[in-house]
C-alpha cells in the first residue's frame, strides 16, 4: 500500500504534485501524437502529419522541464522511500515518453513520403489499429501510474504480447506484397519501419508500466517480459510459414 499521507512541509507535496501533473500532461501529448500520426497515415493527410512533426518539439521541451524539476527536488528535499521512487520513476518515464514521441514523429515523416505512392492494400488501416492499441495501453499505463494501480500496470505489460503479434502479422503481409510486385518494395519498406516503430512504442509503454510496479512495490517485476515478436530470432519466419 502506498503512503498517501501529506508531508509536514507542504511545499514538498506541491513540488511532487507539480511534477506528476506535468508528466500526465506529457503523456497526453504523446497519446495525441500517436493517434494523429496513425490517422494521418490512414487518411493520407499531409497537414496532420506535419502537425505531428512540429508538435514533437513541445514534448521534448516538457521532458527537459520535468527532469530539471526532478533534479531540483533531489537537491533540495533529498527524497527517500516512496518519494524517491516517485522521482526515479518520473525520470525514467519521461525518457520513455520522449522516445514514443520521436517514434510518432518518424511515422509522420514517412507518411509524408508514402502519400506520394500507391497505398498497399489495407495495411494503413491495420497500422492505425495497432497504433490505437498502443495508445490505449499508454492511457492505461498513465492511469495506473496516477492511481498507483499495480494490477492495471501488470495487465498493460501482458497486452504488449498482442502488439507484438500484430507486428508479426504485418511483417508477413509486407513480405507478401513485396514478393508479389517489386514496385511495392519502397512503400513496404517505409510501412515496415512504421510497424516496427509502433512495436517499439509498445515496449516503451511496457517499460512505463514496469515503473508503475516499481513505484508501488519498490521492486521491478521479475518475470521475463512477454515476447511474441519472432521476426528477429526465427530464420524460417516467412510469409509461407504459418507462424504460430
Amino acid at each position: 500500500m502506498v503512503n498517501t499521507d501529506q508531508h509536514i512541509v507542504s511545499a514538498y507535496d506541491r513540488d511532487l504534485e507539480s511534477i506528476q501533473a506535468r508528466i500526465m500532461k506529457m503523456g497526453g501529448m504523446v497519446e495525441d501524437a500517436i493517434l494523429k500520426a496513425a490517422k494521418s497515415l490512414e487518411t493520407r493527410d499531409e497537414e496532420l502529419a506535419e502537425e505531428v512533426r512540429l508538435g514533437d518539439r513541445a514534448i521534448d521541451t516538457l521532458e527537459e522541464i520535468i527532469n530539471d524539476e526532478a533534479a531540483r527536488v533531489i537537491a533540495i528535499r533529498a527524497p527517500t522511500a516512496i518519494d524517491l521512487r516517485v522521482i526515479l520513476s518520473v525520470m525514467r518515464m519521461t525518457s520513455n515518453l520522449e522516445r514514443i514521441g520521436d517514434l510518432s514523429k518518424n511515422m509522420a515523416k514517412r507518411t509524408g513520403v508514402l502519400v506520394q505512392m500507391q497505398p498497399i492494400g489495407s495495411t494503413a488501416s491495420s497500422l492505425r489499429r495497432m497504433a490505437r492499441e498502443v495508445e490505449l495501453m499508454l492511457k492505461d499505463a498513465l492511469d495506473a501510474y496516477i492511481q498507483r494501480d499495480e494490477e492495471l500496470a501488470r495487465d498493460v505489460i501482458e497486452r504488449d504480447r498482442d502488439v507484438d503479434q500484430m507486428y508479426n502479422t504485418l511483417f508477413r503481409e509486407f513480405l507478401t506484397f513485396m514478393l508479389e510486385d517489386p514496385r511495392n518494395i519502397t512503400a513496404c519498406m517505409h510501412l515496415h519501419f512504421i510497424a516496427k516503430n509502433i512495436e517499439r512504442m509498445g515496449d516503451h509503454v511496457t517499460s512505463i508500466s514496469e515503473q508503475v510496479v516499481f513505484l508501488v512495490t519498490g521492486e521491478k517485476p521479475n518475470e521475463a517480459r512477454p515476447k511474441a515478436d519472432r521476426t528477429s530470432s526465427d530464420p524460417h519466419f516467412s510469409p509461407e510459414t504459418d507462424g504460430d
Binding site: N3, H7, P79, A81
Partner: protein
C-alpha cells in the same frame, strides 16, 4: 553484503521510568564491525535503549530494565558484572562534546590510567598517540598536547572525546547524536571517522538526522513510542521500508 557476527543481542528488553513504559519488548541483534543507526522521533526510546547497552540507566534511580542483553554472549546485567569495567568495553560519545578540564594528553590518558592499561610513561604516550590518530585529530593537536582540551573547537573537541572513548580499547562504541552540535565540515569529519572506526568496532549511533543515518550506517533501527518498529539494511529502509510508520517518518509525513 556479508553478514558479520552478532556483537550485541537484546531479547525482550523492557525499560520503565517509574510508571512510564519507555521501551516495549525490544529484540535486536547488533553486528560486529558494523555501524547501526537508531532513528525515531523525540521520546521514542532510542536514547534510552542505547543507554541500556552500557548500563548508563543504572545511574537513574527510578529506571528499571527487564529482559536480557548480552555482549559476545555474556549477560551485561549479571550481578557479577562491574558497570565501570563494562563501560570501558562499551565506550560512549555524547551529543555535546564534554572534554575534561584537563590537557589534551590527560583527557586521553585518564581512562587507560584508571584501568591500568599502561605500565609506564612510554606505553601511555603510545596509547595517547594511537587514540588521537584513531580519533583523526592527531595532526591537529600533536604539537600542543599540554594545551587544555576545552580550548579546541567544537568539532575538534568531539573528535577528542571519540579518541578518549577508544583509548580504553572498547569493543563497542555508542554515540548519542555525536554531530548535532557540530558544523557541516566537523560533521563530515566525524562521519568519516565513524566509517573508519567500523573496521575495529561495533558502532551504534543515535541520530535525528535521517540523512546522517543513511550516510554512515549499514543497519538502521526505527523506534516509535517505545517499540522497535523496523530493523534492517539501511539501503532498504531508505528506499523501500516495510512499515508505513517507518515510511511516514523518513519521508517527513504526518503519520
Amino acid at each position: 553484503m556479508t553478514q558479520n557476527e552478532t556483537k550485541i543481542s537484546a531479547n525482550g528488553v523492557q525499560v520503565f521510568y517509574g510508571d512510564t513504559h519507555a521501551i516495549k519488548d525490544v529484540d535486536v541483534q547488533i553486528e560486529d564491525k558494523t555501524v547501526t543507526a537508531f532513528i525515531g522521533p523525540s521520546g521514542c526510546g532510542k536514547s534510552t535503549f542505547l543507554r541500556c547497552l552500557n548500563r548508563m540507566n543504572d545511574t537513574i534511580d527510578i529506571c528499571r530494565v527487564e529482559g536480557k542483553i548480552t555482549i559476545d554472549g555474556d549477560d551485561i546485567y549479571d550481578k557479577r558484572v562491574d558497570p565501570v569495567q563494562l563501560r570501558a568495553k562499551v565506550g560512549m560519545v555524547f551529543q555535546k562534546p564534554n572534554p575534561f578540564p584537563k590537557s589534551i594528553y590527560d583527557n586521553i590518558a585518564y581512562g587507560p590510567r584508571i584501568h591500568g592499561l599502561a605500565k609506564n610513561k612510554a606505553e601511555l604516550d603510545e596509547i595517547v598517540e594511537k587514540s588521537l590518530r584513531r580519533g583523526a585529530i592527531w595532526d591537529e593537536v600533536k604539537d600542543r598536547l599540554d594545551a587544555p582540551g576545552t580550548g579546541l573547537s567544537g568539532g575538534q573537541q568531539q573528535r577528542l572525546c571519540i579518541a578518549r572513548a577508544v583509548a580504553t580499547e572498547p569493543e563497542v562504541l555508542l554515540m548519542d547524536e555525536p554531530c548535532s552540535a557540530l558544523d557541516p565540515i566537523a560533521t563530515a569529519q566525524v562521519e568519516e571517522l565513524i566509517d573508519e572506526l567500523r573496521s575495529n568496532y561495533s558502532v551504534v549511533i543515535v541520530t535525528h538526522s535521517m540523512q546522517q543515518a543513511a550516510r554512515v550506517s549499514q543497519k538502521t533501527a526505527f523506534f516509535h513510542l517505545g517499540n522497535l518498529v523496523e530493523f534492517g539494511e539501511t539501503g532498504k529502509i531508505f528506499t523501500n521500508p516495510e512499515d508505513p510508520r517507518t515510511e511516514s517518518y523518513i519521508t517527513g509525513r504526518i503519520g
